[in-house]
């Protein structure tokens, strides 16, 4: 398998570059949107220590998104800040699950947020993220290998954190158990979107940018299966993708409202440093 040491080398092969760019947008937008949803929890987490931890995790994830946007910048896709703030919703490649709001209400007014949903969404996402990063450590695109290695070091801390919450709540009171099961059902309806690598997935696998979607899915499902067994839960059918595939630009209106809020200041004055 051919490896590509630099952006210049990748740019020489249009087909390779197209698949690589597509994957980088998926990785960047996933972290970007989930970190944004996480940041809406600031001041609302169950206790003060969690507020510190969760905001630190979101800061790390924003950092990971930045690293991927920088790789895109090197490939001539535009400035990292513009990529995150000025693209229209249909250009985003994040999984639909990660754009969904934290619950009903708004962080400024009556935030009726669901902590069980936050725990399950983040835990399952971090498991999938780690599996992808392990695969990217041997990517044919060398700058992506280095990025993955860097991100992986921090993701292990995130995984430890969400694993603790998941195990504690699932084994807690009847009420907690019920809420966690509801959250799992909710996350299950869209999780296939996180595991999908979209229409360009075949080219990505063929050119060694990341392993094929089926392999990634199998690893994730077998991991979740063992988590479920430990917690006395049963794995139902495969996860689904009810609201469309974000990898192909399909999104819910909640993405647009998220982008409107998070890019409001930047769009007003893109030249301003802030």
């Amino acid at each position: 398998m051919r490896t590509y040491e630099t952006a210049e080398e990748a740019l020489e092969s249009p087909e390779y570059n197209e698949a690589l760019t597509e994957l980088l947008f998926q990785l960047a937008d996933d972290d970007f949107l989930l970190a944004y949803r996480g940041s809406e929890w600031l001041g609302l987490a169950p206790h003060i220590e969690e507020d510190v931890a969760f905001s630190s995790i979101n800061q790390d994830m924003m950092g990971h998104a930045t690293l991927y946007y920088k790789r895109l910048e090197e490939l001539g896709e535009g400035k990292a800040d513009d990529l995150s703030h000025l693209r229209s919703p249909e250009k985003f490649r994040n999984a639909v699950l990660l754009e969904l709001p934290n619950g009903t209400g708004n962080y400024l007014e009556k935030p009726n947020y669901d902590w069980a949903f936050a725990v399950v969404r983040n835990y399952f996402y971090t498991l999938a993220k780690k599996i992808k990063l392990e695969s990217l450590k041997t990517s044919s695109y060398v700058p992506l290998q280095h990025t993955a290695r860097k991100v992986l070091m921090e993701v292990n801390y995130h995984l430890m954190h969400w694993e603790t919450w998941f195990n504690q709540l699932i084994q807690s009171t009847e009420e907690a158990h019920k809420r966690m099961k509801n959250a799992i059902d909710q996350v299950w309806e869209e999780f296939m979107g996180v595991l999908s690598t979209g229409d360009k997935g075949d080219v990505m696998a063929r050119s060694g940018i990341i392993e094929d979607e089926e392999t990634i899915k199998k690893r994730w499902i077998s991991k979740v299966e063992s988590v479920f067994t430990q917690s006395g839960l049963h794995l139902k059918e495969k996860p689904q993708m009810k609201s469309g595939n974000g990898r192909n630009g399909e999104h819910t209106p909640t993405l647009e409202s998220a982008l409107d809020t998070l890019s409001e200041v930047y769009r007003k004055a893109p030249a301003q440093g802030w």
């Binding site: 220590e49 630190s56 790390d60 994830m61 930045t66 690293l67 990025t147 921090e154």
Partner: protein, 164 residues
């Protein structure tokens, strides 16, 4: 004529004075953030390894490095590059850096930590081993919050990160 080796040495001396904006007792050199300094003609290329990805201090660190290197006579332009190979790991922190972290009230990361396993650090104030982890995540991306049951002080520790 000043040789480039001499210039390089002088640049390193200046970098030793550049503090981490969030831990002002330690220089970026002792934190192990400088991978290489290349001096060619009048340009100094300084390759820097970022610590944590989301660290908001990076832009400030870059600016401070530029200012420091420009103080060296013979250097007219400075190019700071953030590189990711090799990755920054906590075992790059020097012995001096570890002492300076303690002075700031931050316990240095354990040098023999195995990734994924819990780690243990002694209290930076009284040296006791009787400490508990309060929160893996702390006030900045690189720190955790701990508590010393001997001297009853809360303290911070730098999170160990290793190349897997």
């Amino acid at each position: 004529m000043i040789t480039s080796d001499r210039l390089k040495e002088t640049v390193y001396r200046e970098l030793k004075k550049v503090e981490d904006p969030e831990i002002t007792s330690v220089s970026i050199l002792d934190l192990g953030m400088v991978d290489d300094v290349i001096v060619q003609e009048k340009e100094a290329v300084i390759q820097v390894l970022p610590t944590f990805s989301g660290c908001p201090a990076l832009d400030l660190i870059k600016k401070r490095i530029e200012e420091a290197a420009l103080k060296v006579g013979g250097v007219e332009t400075v190019n700071v590059q953030f590189v990711y190979d090799p990755p920054w790991t906590t075992d790059r922190i020097t012995e001096e850096g570890r002492e300076q972290l303690k002075q700031f009230g931050i316990a240095p990361p354990p040098s023999d930590h195995i990734d994924g396993e819990p780690w243990h650090v002694d209290c930076p104030y009284c040296g006791s081993t009787y400490t508990t982890m309060e929160n893996i995540f702390g006030p900045t991306a690189c720190r955790s919050i701990l508590y010393c049951k001997s001297c009853k002080n809360p303290f911070e520790a730098m999170k160990p990160v290793a190349n897997l």
